[in-house]
């Protein structure tokens, strides 16, 4: 272009011409040049505005557009938007300019906020139809251009469910779009009722599809709390001819289980229709089998029910219909899954067979802890329980009975309860295991402490699956008036009947509460909360009244927490109650209010809740409330762990140690199991704080963050382990931080190093039990036995593939990452001091490498040729790759080039430990015999068998069935520990040349 104008003066002058076509000429040219000449035009805006307002001028819209652009450049977005609306169709939403994009965003924001306001105030507010038109044009354009995600986002934001539906149905990959949609409805739709509307719509769309994605539908239905819908889908799938449909049904059931919504699952199960005819010969053997073989799918408690039902019907219908028989068989399996027993059973087997806990650590702790220090003594017992949570391995306790007997009174209570954690999920034998400690009817022989502890233990074993044990616990509760036993029974009952809102149980507990005994009342308060989790029932008000009446602080605290639990996940619905609690005069009630905020908005990252919590964190007069407010941030933010360190970083430097403690735990809770680097950096300085309890909190939080993180992926894990060891061995360390260190070592190696702390399920839904568990766990500040609640938050990191019979077949898959990244930590060596450990490791690792190189080929060949048992081969590979250690890397760098490179993948065998960070590397082999029903990298996955005729090889058949076998395992684990040094016997070093 040869020339450009240097001024818009001429055009502006032209606007004053009389002839309309001259005005039009000027306007259209100005519109073209507005980007350059807006400062000049801005002085003439009144003239253009008057053109826009001139009814007779036929290009008013152009004038409006021009004015809008000028206002945009002047930064007056509101004016700009109102004129853009006046521009009508001339405002082209597809134009890719800053102006259009900014105004569109503005228009959509405005529209969304108007729509939201209208929806909240329940009256149809007057929304500018022109704005609506613009947004609709934008939506239509997005849909036309195939940018469905954008359209969905806008539609959801603006509460335009009609457009949302259109966007979903028109998208080219409806399945993907739907799953995207349900994802964002969880992460971005803040208001609960609206989210329900969205989900309802999703379900509607889902159902219209030719091949519905039942997995997703059921997830949605679960959120909507519609057990009927789920039940009918499951029934349909079960009745199908196709075996794969049944597999799908099982998969759905497992997915539902993962969200730990006991009440809902029970509802679903009860609504599954009974088969019309039940052939006697099929059911009876099946149930007989269940009783004889412990790892069959249905549990004893379940069976009695089934049999009752069947026997009633058997008489009426002797006809055998193969279809119905098939259905009945599948139904039994499905019910087994839904009751959670199948998954618990399998988990238990996995944790038992893969247990890699390091007894030496415990031994070190035990030896270094002073005899008379009961706090550390119990802490060691806690640590042992946590370390072996769910593995059923109680070797340590059995070997140290003498030492254990030093626990008296409440220590005895928690020692007994610890068994519950160790045997967590051992549903069939839980009762018999605890039998020696349980209160005996008639004779008052046992100590009330161990009896109470045993009842608590039963609750822990049956946590969230307590149908079988509920009655027993109720009876125990009613038949005693010893407050310690009442305490244990209340906690146990609360755990077992978690979230069932059973009125009878509630009344029983309430009776205990009204005895106004401090010890029993505290447990009763918590227990009521556990029972009513997430129901937001009016009973909360009743509890609150009592909390005001009673004199005992312990009871008030228990009740406050209980009330908080009732509003779990209710978001805005809980606002009134929260308001009432947070304005209370009693700091303990306010403290409960903080928990209520934490739980009602758990995992929502709701800005309002965060703001409120931060406000209390800095302004409340009570240290307890401030500490809890900060801690509660962890719950609100666990769905976005990256946020937490940033938000609490300032608080972690507070002068108030309580706030620092809260900040540490907040990070621990929300970043649990993530190994997030920022979280570690924030906690590191706190672990050497000047105040003992801050150190304690920081150590525990650090352990929570680092659980299952291997040293290869973050070197600070090793540093932290050494720090723990140092604190435990240091005679002059404060008891508080020593206890923190002991607990931390327990959490770090929790569940035989096979579990992590997970608050979100695979589908990014909240895991209710886990959240509740952690919330009560944080109460250990006041009451140590509550530490055991952390076991509720543990979830096994395993990929367990199941076949149609819900057995674990031999199945291999690929982890496309270096094995060392995710391997188990190396067992500690016999040497007790940290300095002594270093030297041997350096020598050992080189020799281990040499040995490994020789043995690897063997191992590989073995793995391919003879498919040995899963546990062995995985450990073999683990060993072969163990040469990659932080220390060894530094020792022989020159050798690195020559040395065989560590394989970039490993083959895992079903069931396998898959830590969360590893999930993205998991690939299923293409030529495998089994194909997973859904491609998930962890949890339970149903496998489709491509060669159903061939015999299946099952892995994982050994079950920790009795106490006798546990004794056997003790020998086993002992053996493996002992054999470790023998394995790594030094060999002559490889010949090498110095290169430097």
């Amino acid at each position: 272009m040869a020339m450009t104008v240097t001024s818009a003066g001429g055009l502006l002058a032209m606007l004053n011409e009389a002839h309309p076509s001259l005005k039009l000429h000027a306007l259209s040219n100005l519109n073209a040049f507005v980007d350059y000449f807006w400062p000049e035009i801005s002085t003439s805006v009144p003239i253009i505005e008057s053109l826009y307002e001139d009814e007779e001028f036929n290009q008013r819209q152009l004038a409006a557009l021009l004015v809008s652009k000028v206002f945009y450049y002047l930064g007056e977005l509101n004016d700009s938007l109102s004129y853009a609306l006046g521009a009508g169709p001339l405002f082209d939403v597809s134009e890719d300019t800053d102006y259009v994009l900014t105004l569109l965003a503005k228009a959509i924001d405005e529209y969304a906020s108007l729509r939201n306001k209208a929806a909240e105030s329940k009256d149809a507010g007057d929304i500018d139809p022109r704005m609506e038109a613009i947004v609709e044009r934008m939506l239509d354009k997005c849909i036309l251009d195939g940018r469905y995600q954008q359209a969905i986002g806008i539609a959801i934001e603006c509460r335009r469910l009609d457009k949302l539906e259109e966007a979903i149905t028109k998208s080219d990959n409806v399945h993907a779009t739907l799953s995207y949609c349900s994802n964002i409805s969880h992460s971005f739709v803040n208001r609960r009722e609206y989210r329900h509307e969205v989900l309802n719509l999703l379900v509607k769309v889902f159902k219209k599809m030719p091949s519905p994605d039942y997995l997703s539908i059921c997830q949605c239905l679960m959120f909507l709390d519609e057990p009927m819908g789920v039940a009918s889908i499951l029934e349909k799938l079960l009745r199908s001819e196709d075996k794969n449909d049944a597999l799908l049904a099982f998969q759905i059931a497992f997915d539902l289980i993962e969200n730990e919504h006991q009440a809902f699952l029970l509802n679903v199960r009860d609504r599954l229709p009974q088969p019309k005819y039940i052939p006697t010969e099929l059911v009876q053997p099946a149930s007989a089998e269940t009783e004889s073989v412990p790892d069959a799918n249905a549990a004893a408690s379940e069976d009695t029910q089934m049999e009752d039902g069947t026997q009633a019907m058997v008489g009426s219908s002797p006809v055998v219909d193969p279809k119905e028989a098939n259905y009945a068989e599948r139904l039994t399996k499905l019910k087994g899954i839904l009751s959670g027993e199948t998954s618990i059973q399998l988990t238990l087997q996995f944790l038992y067979s893969h247990n890699k806990s390091d007894l030496l650590i415990l031994k070190t702790i035990k030896q270094s802890v002073e005899m008379r220090n009961s706090v550390c003594h119990s802490a060691t017992i806690y640590a042992n329980a946590i370390m072996h949570a769910g593995t059923t391995v109680d070797t340590f306790l059995r070997e140290n009975l003498d030492w254990l007997s030093r626990a008296t009174n409440w220590a005895k209570f928690s020692a007994t309860a610890g068994l519950g954690v160790i045997h967590r999920g051992h549903l069939q034998q839980g009762r018999s295991l605890m039998a020696p400690y349980l209160p005996q009817s008639g004779s008052g022989g046992g100590s009330p402490y161990s009896e109470g502890g045993a009842l608590y233990a039963l609750g822990l074993i049956h946590a969230n699956h307590g149908e079988g044990i509920k009655q027993f616990l109720r009876d125990s509760l009613r038949s005693t008036n010893v407050e310690v036993i009442q305490h244990g029974a209340c906690l146990g009952l609360g755990l077992a009947a978690l979230g069932t809102a059973d009125d009878d149980v509630f009344d029983d507990i309430k009776n205990v509460l009204y005895t106004d005994s401090a010890v029993a009342g505290e447990a009763a308060g918590i227990s009521m909360g556990l029972l009513m989790v997430g129901t937001a029932s009016e009973k909360a008000a009743e509890i609150l009244t009592y909390a005001h009446e009673t004199q005992h602080e312990k009871i008030i605290r228990g009740l406050a927490l209980g009330i908080a639990l009732t509003v779990y996940g209710r978001e805005e619905e809980a606002d009134a109650l929260i308001e009432q609690m947070t304005r209370d005069q009693d700091p303990i009630i306010r403290y409960g209010g903080m928990y209520a905020l934490a739980l009602a908005y758990s995992g929502t990252a709701n800005n309002k809740a965060i703001r409120q919590l931060l406000h209390f964190a800095v302004s409340d007069v009570s240290d307890d409330v401030r500490r809890t407010a900060v801690l509660a941030l962890g719950f609100v933010l666990y769905s976005e762990p990256e946020q937490t360190p940033r938000i609490v970083s300032l608080l972690s430097e507070s002068y108030n140690p309580h706030v620092r403690y809260g900040a540490a735990l907040a990070v621990g809770i929300s970043c649990a199991g993530t190994g997030l680097s920022e979280a570690i950096s924030l906690l590191e300085p706190l672990t050497s704080d000047v105040v003992d309890f801050v150190r304690q909190g920081a150590l525990i939080a650090m352990a929570m963050v680092l659980v299952q993180i291997s040293e290869a992926s973050d070197s600070r894990v090793g540093v932290f382990r050494r720090q723990l060891e140092k604190i435990i061995l240091d005679k002059h360390e404060d008891t508080m931080s020593k206890m923190g260190a002991i607990l931390a070592s327990g959490i770090l190696d929790a569940g035989g190093r096979n579990v992590t702390i997970k608050l979100l399920s695979e589908t990014r839904h909240d895991k209710m039990t886990a959240v509740v568990g952690l919330a009560v766990f944080t109460q250990f500040w006041y009451w140590y036995p509550l530490i055991y609640f952390i076991s509720l938050a543990f979830s096994p990191t395993a990929l367990i593939g199941l076949n149609y019979d819900l057995k674990v077949p031999r199945f291999e898959f690929l982890s496309h990452a270096k094995p060392s990244l995710f391997e188990y930590p190396r067992p500690t060596t016999v040497a007790t001091t940290a300095s002594a450990v270093k030297l041997p490791t350096a020598v050992l690792s080189t020799s281990a490498r040499a040995k490994a190189r020789a043995s690897k080929k063997e191992a590989d060949q073995k793995a391919i040729a003879e498919k040995s048992s899963g546990a062995e081969s995985t450990s073999g590979i683990g060993k072969s790759s163990s040469d990659k250690d932080g220390d060894s890397m530094q020792v022989d760098v020159p050798m690195q080039k020559k040395a065989e490179v560590e394989p970039s993948f490993e083959i895992l065998t079903n069931p396998a430990r898959v830590v969360p960070a590893q999930e993205k590397f998991i690939k299923f082999l293409e030529d495998s015999r089994y194909i997973p029903v859904k491609s998930a990298a962890s949890g339970f996955v149903l496998l489709k068998d491509l060669h159903p005729t061939e015999p299946e090889v099952l892995s994982l058949t050994d079950a920790p069935s009795s106490t006798a076998s546990t004794g056997g395992t003790a020998v086993n684990t002992q053996g493996s520990v002992a054999s470790m040094p023998v394995d790594e016997e030094p060999q002559p070093p490889q010949p090498f040349e110095y290169t430097s």
Partner: protein
């Protein structure tokens, strides 16, 4: 030749002829038509597309606008003058290097300066002046305007008024007449401030009127608030304007001191 262009050229000739005849009505209608026709040419500002006849079209358009400016002077329409001048300006500033210099350029620029002076828009006057090259300033038309402005600023109103005799271009006369009025307004404004009252005789002299009638006519028309009493012109009413506010110095001092004290306390 492009039919449209030839049509415009023809009409342009008609327009010029009408202008010479001082047939203003005809001029106005023709001009309006011409302007509409001109919007169709894409070679004109602000587009400046390099079409075949670009130079020719630009020349014609410039010619039209130049005459439009002259027309507005003749019809004594200042708004039209401003409008047309601004539309003409791009032909000088932006298209100047493509077209042969117009004969009319400096007279018209000078006219514009004069207009600004008349309208007492001194700031814009200087802005325009800054845009001119040094050589342009030597042009008698421009120089005339600049000198006028200097005299005007100095208060040498006599010189301003006598300059009417030395106009470089016949179109300037109109503005020079207007300028005399501007000068008078200026003097009137100053007198109002400077005196409580003036004898009619003095007032007549100061305001450069030749007779008392003219003076009283002017007062009635422009300054009805003035009063003629006992052979004096009394400005008192204008004096009523509020005395300028006193600066609250003491208050400011105490405030500043207290801020300083507070700051010291905080640090």
């Amino acid at each position: 030749m492009d039919p449209k262009l030839s049509e415009v050229s023809q009409m342009c000739e008609l327009f010029k002829a009408a202008l010479v005849r001082n047939d203003f009505e005809k001029c106005e209608t023709l001009l309006s038509q011409l302007k509409v026709l001109l919007t169709a040419f894409r070679s004109l500002p602000p587009l400046f597309e390099a079409t075949l006849n670009a130079v020719h079209e630009l020349t014609v358009a410039r010619d039209i606008y130049e005459h439009a400016v002259i027309l507005s002077v003749k019809t004594e329409d200042q708004d039209a003058f401003e409008r047309d001048f601004f539309q003409l300006k791009p032909y000088y500033t932006d298209a100047g290097d493509r077209l042969p210099q117009s004969q009319q350029e400096f007279p018209i620029l000078g006219l514009n300066l004069l207009r600004l002076l008349v309208q007492n828009r001194i700031a814009e006057f200087h802005t325009e002046l800054e845009l001119l090259s040094a050589s342009a300033l030597e042009n008698p038309c421009i120089k005339h305007a600049v000198e006028l402005e200097q005299s005007f600023m100095e208060g040498a109103y006599n010189r301003v008024l006598t300059a009417r005799q030395t106009v470089p271009h016949e179109t300037y006369v109109y503005f020079m007449d207007l300028l005399a009025k501007t000068v008078r307004d200026e003097i009137a404004g100053c007198s109002e401030k400077a005196y409580d009252s003036l004898s009619i005789n003095d007032a007549r002299q100061i305001l450069l009127f030749s007779s008392d009638q003219e003076l009283s006519g002017y007062i009635n028309e422009e300054h009805p608030e003035w009063e003629i009493k006992n052979g004096y012109v009394i400005f008192q009413k204008a004096k009523e304007s509020a005395p300028c506010k006193e600066i609250p110095s003491l208050q400011l001092i105490t405030q500043t001191l207290s801020y300083a004290r507070e700051l010291e306390r905080i640090v």
